[in-house]
Amino acid sequence: MATQHSRSAARIMMAPAVVLLLGWMLVPLIMTLMFSFKRYLPLRGGDLGWTGFDNYIRFVSSSAFWPAVSTTLIIVGAVLIITIVLGVLLALLLDQPMWGQGVVRILVIAPFFVMPTVSSLVWKNMFMDPTNGLFAHLWRFFGADPVAWLSEASVPSIIMIVSWQWLPFATLILLTAVQSLDSEQLEAAEMDGAPALSKFGYLILPHLSRAITIVVLIQTIFLLSIFAEIFVTTGGAFGSRTLTYLIFQRVLESQNVGLGSAGGVYAIILANIVAIFLMRIVGKNLDA
């Protein structure tokens, strides 16, 4: 039905977005690629010439590289699992008839509005501090020794903070999907006396698969680059250093922009591997 006219109009309308994003992607990408083949040390005078693949070799052969990759994947994976499982349960719960539904929804989505820096500071100081934190008070109340969360369980602590931030997002999207579930189908299932579990497995979950796909996709993009949560809480210590954080250390702490840029290129590659992987697994759900 689309005419030649509307096709060219469509192209014109897409042009600004495509051109801008192309620029936003290409300019930094090309500069990053260029830096990554250079010895670029800002504190030693800046650009010190080309070095071939030195930075790339050095970045992967560093003892910090593989642990950082696995920490990244663990954090992303764990947060995805937690937010989706809890998000589905919460969405189902919030969909039930109840008093004060609006208020409860507000309470549940509130963490999404909190800046990552603020939520990290709050969790770190007011909850996880081993002396004055609320958890420490709670542990002592029950006669247990307070846990030094950010050193003894740094990665789980960060997973917890990040999950708290992203659970509302997952819940919101899943809730919208749950609400669109055909109530007639549900009632029919109820009439048949289908047990709750099989109702969930055969009816609800398939219906939610598309929403879950979207949660996975969008959250992965954001989670791969979490930074403030680590910067504020552990500073990358105790095995909580992600790839993004490792790049930060190379670029800003070590002031080795060439090496950090090589790391940036690896991070892009990792992100794309994850993306392709995601597309393969969940892409069918997404006939965008």
Partner: protein, 432 residues
Amino acid sequence: MSIKKTILSATALTALAGALSAETITIATVNNGDMVRMQGYTDEFTKATGHEVEWVTLEENVLRQRVTTDITTKGGQFDIMTIGMYETPIWGANGWLVALDDLSEEYDADDILPAMSGGLSHDGTLYAAPFYGESSMIMYRTDLMEKAGLEMPVSPTWDFIREAAAGMTDRDADINGVCLRGKAGWGEGGAFITAMSNSFGARWFDENWQPTFDSPEWFNTVSFFKSLMDDYGPAGYATNGFNENLNLFQQGKCGMWIDATVAASFVTNPTDSTVADSVGFALAPNTGLGKNSNWLWAWALAIPAGTQKEAAAKEFIEWATSKDYIDLVAANEGWANVPPGARQSLYDNPNYQEVPFAQMTLDSILSADPNNPTVKPVPYVGVQFAAIPEFAGIASQVSQEFSAAYAGQQTVEEALEKAQAITSEEMEAAGY
């Protein structure tokens, strides 16, 4: 109508002319107590000179990242930057800072303690003016010490510290014998363990810039620290930095605390500290090898080269680091709260000599020697750091390995092995 307009623009012009000599300078600074206090007195500066001041106050790590990016790219966002003894010589050598060699007569630059001006200079030229200077020393609870039946020597050994910590620790009363920094970060736990290693005869690099974490001295340092803190330190000490320990000490949960001399004014301040009237001071401990484990640091104000407002910036620096500023703070908040450690005249002042920690602060500062920091010779300058561009990056990673060892996630041997590998790797990358 048009007459009115003319008059209006004429007044605007005069206002503009008046504003030309008065400028607005932008200052990046750290959010610690003395700096925040200085912000409170900005009006006095504006009144005296007509210059307005915009403050960019940031947490220490964010500040470092922010000003380093700006200075290396010549971004020109700030007219004054608050930097330390680590950055100043490196930046000065690169020609990124305005030399402060033409300060006014009445400013009396010769009054700045030599240890401070030495650490803030490159090739004998001062590049940053110290706002306050610090070393580190022992702060201890005189009541607990007495209860333990011990007496703190003026210059104790680490063995004595261990003994005293054992005597003061009372887990039931939630009192830890000793609180020390274990937090990762080169300016946090990294600074402490480096200064401590000096007293154990260790060093970061040998004369050929080879890292020496495989030496027995380093092993002794880190394992002594860990066993001392495991036995008598607070829970979770691997994440405790200056601030955490300050809170613990103020709440009466530490017998001893070895940290920055500036903390003395906080722990003796009765409004914040529950133990204000029972704090004693001593020199940072040693092992009899001739070096104490105290560091040397200054927060200083520097002007990035290329700023358009150099003259106004200099005026501000002269004001903020002057003797008059010290008098101003003393008059309003008492002598215990003036910025310490920068000027000899402050320590010659009889009023200040009455402050209980004044003499010990001065003695600590004077006993630190950045040009000769360790028992064995080293190629670098700096007590708790080595003033080379790579150090911050290396030391923050090394201190993370140490913190992981403190937390029991790896052994001291493993941590030192990794430290050696990280340092070799980075030094090689830097072309040593």
